[in-house]
């Protein structure tokens, strides 16, 4: 893909999608009285209102998927590589909607929000969530925007889980789903990594039994260690080698002639480039993420198992919304076997499904990167879905809906 365009300056809006007479009832039966959703949109909704693409974010994403909030922002939205004019999720052709997940901490109601019933942050009183609850809130946002149907729901990693759930539960609402580097069922190893991350947060004295917002403490150490560990799982060994190798943060050779500043010697500090990377990722995370959200959102993934229901694919098979499943060959967080399980279940149920394993050295992180084969595949799939949608509308009795 040659697209390098940007959606330009954007802003995050907020909508109250549940509240008052209409609280959010979760799949578990638990109730959240009020839900606000932070979202952004890019591109233009066409007259037929059938060109909307919904972006579902992964564990730590947010509603700011593309463009910049201010001209001097040094980083654009988290999926700017794939969303924009001339890019696979082409804002010249599609109306793109991105929101922040329920339980998140970037504008959408989550465990750090104020519980209207107590006037205090929810903390651990926030109910446990499921992937289907995320989709319920996405759907409420769509209704708020006056959109009935999507051209596609698209997501990577936990975002792919939402796209899959959406296709399974409300297939009539989607022409297609793009499920990238996702899983329909975590392995023991996947859960183990999340367990250590959560323990690291909860054992931090600053966690204060989940009441840190009121206590004025903060489990910064735990949260940053959780993030550092997660980053190890997002890159492949090969990718890390390419990116950092065994480079030092200082010149350690005796005849280097390089001035050695304080700390520029072997010790237990940030000696290697990879340590500097992890240190940076851990610290940067603190300014934008909440520890409680980290607990809640990782737990959602642990329990995700949509195909446990033997009738999971019935409705999707009947409606026939098409799915694209993609994996990356060096991803070991959710390796190709995870995607193959999804493909097998859909294919066995006679759901139209396409699958590719994309070659990339960058592990799980690949889904965020502009990898040519990957982007071309998403572009080809969405372009065709849009074409077929138009033809179906044109040939449907009564013309456009």
């Amino acid at each position: 893909m040659s697209g390098t365009g940007s959606v330009g300056l954007v802003r995050t809006r907020t909508a109250r999608v549940f509240g008052g007479e209409r609280p959010l009832v979760l799949a578990s039966g638990a109730v959240i009285p009020e839900v606000d959703v932070a979202y952004e949109t890019y591109g233009t909704l066409n007259e037929a209102r059938d060109n909307a693409v919904f972006i579902c974010h992964a564990l730590t994403g947010d509603a700011h998927a593309a463009g910049r909030h201010a001209p001097d922002d040094h980083r654009p939205g988290w999926w700017n590589s794939i969303i924009g004019p001339g890019k696979p999720i082409d804002t010249d052709r599609y109306f793109v909607i991105a929101d922040n997940l329920l339980g998140g901490c970037q504008g959408t109601t989550g465990p750090a929000s104020i519980n209207p019933e107590t006037g205090r942050p929810y903390g651990l009183d926030f109910p446990l969530l499921q992937i289907v609850d995320f989709v319920t809130v996405h759907r409420a946002l769509l209704a708020h925007l006056g959109i009935d149907r999507l051209l596609a729901a698209v997501g990577g990693s936990m975002g792919g889980m939402q796209a899959l759930q959406w296709a399974l539960s409300w297939p009539e609402q989607l022409a297609s789903a793009v499920i990238v580097a996702a899983s329909s069922r975590l392995t023991a190893q996947n859960i183990a990594f999340s367990a250590v991350a959560r323990e690291s947060i909860m054992r931090d004295p600053g966690f204060s039994a989940g009441r840190y917002l009121e206590a004025g403490t903060s489990p910064d150490t735990g949260l940053s260690i959780a993030r550092m560990m997660a980053h190890i799982t997002y890159l492949s060994e090969e990718g890390m080698d390419q990116k950092f190798g065994r480079r030092f943060q200082f010149d350690d050779s005796p005849d280097s002639g390089v001035h050695r500043g304080p700390g520029a010697e072997r010790g237990f500090g940030v000696d290697f480039a990879v340590e500097s990377y992890l240190d940076h990722q851990g610290k940067a995370f603190l300014s934008r993420f909440d520890a409680l959200s980290y607990l809640y959102l990782t737990r959602v993934m642990d329990y995700f198992d949509p195909f446990a229901d033997p009738h999971a694919t019935d409705r999707l098979a009947e409606i026939g919304a098409r799915c694209l499943v993609l994996s990356f060959d060096t991803d070991w967080r959710f390796d190709t076997t995870h995607s193959r399980v999804i493909v097998r279940r859909l294919e066995h149920a006679r759901v139209p499904v396409s699958f590719r394993e994309i070659r990339s050295p960058w592990g799980h992180d690949s889904f965020l990167l502009p990898i040519d084969t990957y982007h071309r595949t998403v572009d080809a799939f969405l372009t065709r879905a849009a074409l077929d949608r138009r033809q179906r509308t044109a040939t449907a009795p009564g013309g456009a809906r």
Partner: protein, 200 residues
Amino acid sequence: MSELRPDLAEVARFVPDGSRVLDLGCGRGELMRHLMDRRSCTGTGVEIDPDAVLAAIAQGVPLIELDIDHELGEFGDRSYDVVILSRVLQATYKPREVLEQMARIGSRCIVSVPNFGYWRHRWVLLRGRMPMSAELPHAWYDTPNIHLSTLADLEDLFDLVGLDVWTRQMFTAAGKHRADTGRPENLLAASATYVLIPRD
């Protein structure tokens, strides 16, 4: 809509309308697209060449990228009405296993192959050279066709893996129909298309 390549049209003739079709080595998806548009079929294409995979997806063909030699286990028993293997068998590593998988997956299998026993090939071989032709255009050192067979050898293998020949269509080197004259076809046909029924 462009016309289907003649050899694919020959395969399409043997696909009942409305079938669920698995096209192994579907290339750019022309045959699947044709069957979906004109014959109300559904199904899946399988391909491994990256450009062809992309083209098939762009055609709206459900396309699963996998290795026919090792990964056909992904498909369920009798999960397709028709399994097609068009000019691919000779390029597989383990033709026997591929045919066994097809017999497991499909209620009907369509296999088209070049005939290595064609008299022109025999003649070239008699003169001491590896045959090359429109059907077999590659030099011996540069060919994907690593498992060429004569029709007689192939029919023995069909029998071995439990595939009964329901019908077969013979072709001349120009791709025209030939009347099936029985055993001599192993000498006279340049290529053939078989419709096979798994023996239960």
